[in-house]
Structure formats: C-alpha cells, structure tokens
C-alpha cells in the first residue's frame, strides 16, 4: 500500500468556490470607499449611506463569524453572543467618551457629561486606563473573553449543553441588559454613550474617518476569517467538529472537551468583542439595547440563513439578512417583519444548510 493514496487530498471544488465567493465579497467591499469618491452622477458612485451602512454590516459579519465558530464548529449555540459584542462596544465607547475630554456640554476636563450630570465627583475605578487606546483595545478583547471564560468554564464543566446552554447564555445577556440599564452602574444607563468626537486623533464625522473605520473593519473581517479558516483547518478544528457531533465519544478518546470548547468559546467571544468595538464608532452610539436577547437571536439567524458550519455562510448570512432589513425597513415599513420572519421559517424548514447549502446543491 503506497503512502500516496493516503495523502490529504486537495480541498474540494465547493470549498474553493466558497473561498472565491468570500474573496469577491471582500474585493467588492474594498472598492466601496474608493467608488464613493467618484462624482455623484457617475453610475459607479457608491453613496455615503451605502458606505456607512456596509461598514456596519461588516461588523455584523464578524459577529456572525464568531458565532459560527462557536455554534457551527463547536456546537455551542450561544444565545448571548450579543453580550460579548456589546461589551466590546462598551469598552470602545468608554475610550471614545474619555477622548471627548473637555469638549462635553458641561466642559468637565475628565468626567463624561452623564457623570457630571449624575453628580459623580471622580471617575469610577473601572473607568481608569480607558483614555489609552492600547488599554481600551486590550479590554475590548479581555472583558468579553473573561466573561466567556468564566461562564464557559462553569457550564462546560457541569456538562451543560444544547438547549440548556442556550437558555443560560440568554439569561446572561438579559441580566447584563437589566444591569446596564441602571444609571447607577456608571455606564450611562439607557442613553449609553453618544456624541463621540474623535478616535486616534481623527474627527469621527468626516468621510475620511468613515473610510478608515470601514477599512479597519474589513481588515478585521478578513483577519478573523483567515484565523477561523486556519483554526478549523487544523486538528483542533477537527476535534471541535467531533465535539459538536458526539461530545461523549471525544471524551472517550481522551480529549478534555471542556478545555477545547472553552478555547473556542473564548476566542469567539473575543472576536465578537472586536466586532462590537468596530461597530460603535461607526454607528455613533452604544446603549444597553445591544444586550437585548432579541439581538443575539438575530445574529444566530444570520448564521442559520447563511449556512452554519461554513465560514463563508456566516458572512453571507450577515450581509444578506441585514441588507434585506435595511431595504425593507424603508420599502415596506409595516410589512418587513413578515418578510423577515417568513424568511427565517423558510430557511429552517427548506434550507437547513442555509444559502450556502443552496450553492452547494447547485454545484453538485
């Protein structure tokens, strides 16, 4: 028996095709800010609106990617991924608030407006350090990561899986939402953070800032995609898949599935945090509504619509659902929920593998 027969075969055509789709998506997106500079009457002109809204979609795509890593590969259906996204967003928001400095309404040199207003005398300890970009970026990853570590360790160790895990993660994001709504928490309550001025010395309300954030998001998306691609291509990725399909069996092979799942869950939470951090300066607001359980479920639906278990599927799902939502909330403001709800029903019933499954079906 020659060794050549057992050589790992080249990736299948479908897989290559999907990667090509991803490449095309990235390249097309990359041209948006450039085409935006064309004169308005040009056929190729991309409006400011489309640039800014697609910057937002890219952040959603990163969130979908992170969720797909946890759900599609490791079988951890988190209904609380919005919480990691929001925590990353809050960490970035705190940095942006500190950067406002004395430009706030009340002109206080250190305290953000809402603190002045609620009678704070000094900055709460957990706000310290956020004036440094590097520290804030670290927190963008660490805070969601730590939360995922603690929650994941508790859950995976007690072998909480499936539906139970989903409900616990949902309760987590719900509890966080209630807590962040409290003004006494020191995070601005319902209003959250708004009225950001600048980031890294760049005023935020300019086209240049929008383009920079857009490219930062796109680079992050590509980075996260490549990271996930690499990760799922290693033996670790195969262990995850094995855990997803038959966790007990993996244990009997001698793998400590708790640490494997934990690793994936924490990595996923950090990616979600990164997505949130990129999202906040682009939309200009972060408030506890981001923790709402509905948001997390929506993110799961993007992945389901795109096709769970394929990275490209998650990205496509995020773009298509959000694109549809943006269009329908203007085109059919009263009826869009029917269309979207109907889409979710149809996808789960008829396209269990999502849009990517449809492509795969064609390919065969």
């Amino acid at each position: 028996m020659s060794a050549t027969t057992l050589d790992t075969p080249a990736p299948s055509r479908i897989r290559l095709g999907l990667r090509a789709v991803m490449g095309v998506v990235v390249v097309v997106l990359a041209t948006f800010p450039l085409l935006n500079m064309l004169p308005q009457d040009s056929v190729f002109h991309v409006s400011d609106f489309l640039v800014s809204v697609s910057g937002k979609w890219i952040c959603y795509a990163i969130l979908a990617l992170s969720l797909d890593l946890a759900w599609g590969y490791a079988g951890i259906l988190s209904l609380g991924h919005g919480a990691f996204f929001a925590l990353g967003g809050y960490a970035m928001g705190m940095h942006l608030m500190r950067l406002i400095g004395p430009r706030g309404v009340y002109g206080h040199p250190v305290l953000p407006d809402f603190m002045v207003f609620l009678g704070y005398q000094q900055l709460p300890w957990y706000w310290l350090g956020f004036d440094h970009f590097a520290f804030a970026m670290l927190m963008v990853l660490l805070v969601p990561g730590m939360l995922a570590l603690v929650l994941g360790w508790l859950c995976f160790r007690s072998r909480i899986t499936g539906v139970y895990l989903s409900i616990i993660t949902q309760a987590m994001t719900y509890a966080l939402m209630l807590a962040f709504f409290r003004n006494d928490m020191g995070f601005g309550g319902n209003n959250g953070f708004t009225d950001f001025k600048e980031l890294l010395g760049m005023p935020l309300n300019t086209g240049a800032a929008r383009a920079s954030l857009f490219y930062a998001s796109l680079v992050s998306l590509v980075g996260c995609y490549l990271f996930c691609l690499w990760m799922t291509g290693t033996k670790y990725g195969r262990v995850l898949t094995a855990i997803r399909d038959a966790e007990n069996r993996v244990r009997f092979l001698g793998y400590d599935t708790t640490s494997h799942k934990l690793f994936a869950f924490v990595a996923s939470a950090m990616m979600a945090g990164l997505a949130g951090a990129l999202y906040v300066p682009q939309v200009g607001i972060i408030n506890p509504g981001e923790f709402s359980p509905g948001n997390s479920i929506e993110a799961v639906i993007w992945v389901a619509v795109g096709g769970r278990g394929t990275l490209v599927g998650a990205v496509i799902g995020a773009f298509s659902v959000n694109g549809l939502k943006t269009w329908l909330t203007s085109a059919a403001p009263d009826l869009w929920l029917f269309v979207l709800g109907g889409l979710f029903v149809a996808v789960t019933l008829f396209l269990p593998k999502g849009l990517v499954g449809l492509l795969k079906g064609r390919a065969k």
Partner: protein
C-alpha cells in the same frame, strides 16, 4: 329599618326654616369655582339636609350640570332634574355644561357625603360613610358619629364608625376625647391611623407620649403585616410566572419543543379577552361573564393556532430543538406584527370586573389586591387541571407514552402525530389562558409576550424540565425571593440577582430542582 325612616322623617320635620334657607343659599356655590364649591359642600354636609345627598352624589359622579343662568341640574339616566326642587326640566343637554371638580372638592365631598350617608338605611353606604368620615376627620362629626354608633347594629360597620369617631376625636379640643381617640387608633393596624396620629403629634405636644406609644403598637402590628404582604407579593409574582411558564412546561418540558413564540400565544390570549369583552359590551347580561367566557375562548383560539403551527411547521423539525427555536422566533415576529396591524400598536383596554378590583382583607387585616388574589387562585386551579389532564385522562396517558417511547407508543396503535399536535395545542392553549389572567395586570399590547419569555424558560429549567411540580415550586420560589430582595436591592438588581442565582443553580444541578428520573433523561 323602620326606625331609620322614622328618624329621617323626624330630622326633616325638625329642620328649622332657617336651615332650609341655608340649604338653598348654599346650593349655587356648587356651580362656582373650586374654592366656592369646597365651601358650599362643607355647608351642605354640616346642615345634614337629606336633599343634599343626591346633589352631592351627582356632583361627585360628574352628573351635575349647569345652565347658562347658573341653575343646577342633575342628570338622572336620560332625564334632567332641577337640583333644588327635584322636578324634571325640559332642557336639551347640549345647552348645559358639566360642573367639574378637582381633588380638593372631591375630598370635601367625601366628608360631606359621609356626614349625610351615615344615617342611610343601607349598611354598605354607612360603611363607606364611616370610612369617608374617618379620612375627612373633623371635630364637628363627633356628635354625629356618637349617635350613629349608638344605633348601629352591624358589627363591621360599628367597628368602622368607632374608628372614624376615634379619628375625629383626635382633632377635637376636649383632652379626654383626644386620649380616647388615641387609644382607639393605637389598637388598629392601619397605616392611615398611624398617619393621623403622627399628624396630630405636632399639634398636640401634651399627648405626645401617648401618641408615640400608640404608633409603636401600630408599627409592631404593621411589621408582621408587612412580612405577610411581602409573602403575598412574592406568591403573586410567582403565580404570574407560573401561568406564563405552565404552557412552556408542557411544550418545552414534555415535548422538548423550544417555542419562542410562546410569549405571542400569551399575548393572543390577552387579545382574545379584549375581543370577547368588546363583543359583550353591548349585551348587558353577558357583560359580567366576559372574563369567565374569555378563558375557554382564549384556550381554543391559541390551541387552534398552536395545533396549526405544530402540524404545519414544527413537526418537520422534531429532533432539531435549536432549529425549532429559530423557526418559532420567526413565527413570533410575524404574529406580533400581524396583531399590530390588525389591532393597532396601542394598548387595548381591558375592564376588570368589580370582583377583581380593590383590596380584600385577609384574616389579621392583611390587605391583598383582589385581582392578584384571584390570579393566584386561578393559577393554582389551572395547575391542578393540567396535572389532572396529564395524570388521569386517556390523552394524558398517550401523551406520556409518546414522549417517553415514541416508537413503542406508535407500535401500540397510538397515532403519535395526533398526540403531538394535541399536546402542543394543549400547551399553547394554556399560554392563551395565561394571557387572560395577565390582561388583568399588564398592558394588552403586541409586546405583551416579549417580557415573559425568558422568565418562563428559566422557571421551567430551574424547576426541572419535564416536572410540573418543579415548575410550580420554581415559580413561587423565585417570586418570593425576588420580592424579598426588592426592598434592599431595588426592583432591577433584585431581578438581576435572581437571574444570576438561577444560572448558578443550574451550574450545580443542570437538571433543575426536580430532575426527570431514570436513564431516559440522559439520552
């Protein structure tokens, strides 16, 4: 009875002409500004002229009208009567203007009506009058109340009159009266009595020690009562959680279907209540029954929708619980938006029947609100019925058989598809019934269900999936804990603590308080 009528007659006959003139003189004030109204009402109350009663009642109920020339009229059904003479008048209502009042007038009215009604032959009216006098308290009422107390025969009314007398004596000038009032008030467990005592403390430094003692005695009783109240509040919150969770305990606990549209079924139940009520609005004999009728109606409506959803959608996804979750979320979105388009986004009004309004007194003077007490009882009844349906009927047997060993049940000739549909319909129907109850305490709006879905899931998981008794204990346990924490932590943090505690508990015991027994549960 006869005695009272006689008394009325005597009172009227003995009324000096001067007083009758005073009555007529006071009357126009009722149609004046708020200040004039207060004065006139006070005069009419003190005069004790029974003719004032219908006029003042009309004023408090918004049925007193005024003509351009200042003449006062009473609207009695469709007729208009002259307030002073009681004779019917022939005036179009469009030519009149309603006499409006404010809270100050309303307070004065209550006192005056109390003074007038305390001699009423109707014991309920006398009771209300005693309460009104108690709140209005004035030293002038002492003789009136003394007389009323002497002839009162109904013990309950006697107690209230005695209390009103005590309160009135407190503001009297006679020190002995004052002390008697303080002692009598100190024997109650009433926060109003406490409030009245404290109010009197500043004005009467000479009896401060007695007042302090009386307040301390009340406080002690109140502390016990407060504990009982907290317990009731907790049980009441628990009953709401239980109602919201029971339907899930069937669809999720027994069938394993994650129905994110559960909250929408609850909401549909509430809207059914609204529709039944609107339907009954024009049928007087039906009106009081609209809520009882809404219960089966809501059950049928939501059960039918549930059955359709199970047959049409969910059955294709058995064994894929997480996908069911996504599907039902989509369905929930559509139901919510459909309701919004059909009924409007605004809250819909649900009228509480009289027996669900106000406060009831349990033994030891523990006040409980009627609607919450009814809902508490209702939740227990529904729980009992569900238990009976599952344990004692053929359907329950088949349901348990199918959920435990589907292939074997099928082999024994049970039509599993039908049982699935019925079970899901049953669970959905219960959600609808919950909606009827919740319409009595919460908004009836398209968003009604959203607020309950997470709590419901937690209750079911906390209690132990598949265990109805677990759901019951979890709901009441969480309700009581939440209410005990609330005074310290505030409403939000209390809820956050409870959520975190439940999450921590599930870590320790992933299968909840009452785990499903046996190996089957581990599959």
């Amino acid at each position: 009875m006869k005695r009272t009528i006689l008394l009325l007659f005597l009172l009227l006959a003995a009324m000096p002409a001067r007083a009758q003139d005073a009555f007529l003189a006071a009357l126009p004030g009722l149609g004046g500004g708020f200040g004039a109204q207060v004065e006139a009402v006070g005069q009419l109350g003190t005069l004790g002229d029974p003719r004032a009663l219908p006029i003042l009642t009309a004023l408090s109920e918004g049925r007193l009208l005024r003509l351009a020339d200042g003449t006062l009229l009473i609207r009695d059904g469709t007729r208009l009567l002259n307030a002073a003479t009681g004779a019917p008048v022939d005036v179009a209502e469009a030519d009149t203007q309603r006499v409006t009042i404010n809270n100050r007038v309303r307070g004065a009215l209550r006192g005056a009506l109390g003074q007038l009604q305390i001699i009423s032959p109707n014991s309920a009216e006398r009771l209300a009058a005693a309460d009104a006098i108690f709140r209005a308290r004035s030293a002038e009422n002492v003789p009136l109340l003394d007389a009323a107390l002497a002839r009162e025969s109904v013990p309950e009314v006697r107690d209230r009159i005695a209390l009103a007398l005590a309160a009135s004596r407190l503001v009297a000038t006679n020190p002995a009266d004052k002390l008697a009032g303080i002692t009598a008030l100190g024997e109650t467990a009433s926060p109003q009595a406490r409030s009245i005592l404290l109010e009197a403390r500043a004005a009467n430094p000479e009896v401060a020690t007695q007042i302090d003692a009386a307040v301390a005695a009340i406080d002690q009783r109140l502390a016990i009562r407060r504990a009982a109240e907290t317990l009731f509040q907790g049980l009441s919150l628990g009953s709401v959680l239980l109602l919201a969770a029971l339907g899930l305990a069937v669809t999720f606990g027994v069938m394993g279907v994650i129905n994110m549209a559960h909250g929408e079924f609850v909401m549909l139940g509430a809207y059914t209540t609204v529709m039944v009520q609107d339907f009954a609005r024009d049928i007087p004999w039906l009106q009081p029954w609209s809520l009882p009728i809404a219960v089966p109606a809501a059950f049928l409506v939501t059960a039918a929708i549930g059955a359709a959803m199970e047959r049409g959608l969910i059955r294709h996804l058995y064994g894929r619980p997480l996908e069911t979750l996504l599907l039902t979320f989509g369905v929930g979105m559509m139901i919510q938006q459909a309701v919004r388009l059909i009924f409007g986004a605004q809250n819909r009004e649900v009228i509480s029947p009289p027996w669900m309004q106000g406060t009831l007194m349990l033994p030891f003077d523990i006040p409980v609100t009627a609607n919450r007490l009814w809902i508490l009882c209702f939740s227990l009844v529904i729980f009992g019925l569900i238990l009976a349906a599952i344990r004692m009927t053929r359907f329950g047997l088949e349901m348990r058989a199918v959920t435990q060993r589907r292939p074997i049940a099928a082999a024994m000739g049970i039509r599993t598809g039908r049982v699935d549909a019925l079970t899901f319909a049953f669970g959905s129907g219960i959600a609808g019934i919950a909606g009827v109850a919740l319409s009595q305490i919460d908004n009836v709006s398209p968003n009604l269900g959203t607020g309950y879905i997470i709590d419901s899931f937690l209750v079911v998981v906390f209690g132990g999936v598949g265990s109805l008794a677990g759901t019951l204990i979890a709901a009441f346990g969480l309700g009581v804990i939440n209410k005990m924490l609330e005074p310290w932590a505030g409403a939000v943090l209390a809820k956050v603590f409870v959520l975190v505690a439940v999450m921590a508990f599930i870590q320790r015991r992933p299968r909840g308080l009452f785990p499903q027994k046996g190996r089957a549960a581990e599959a």
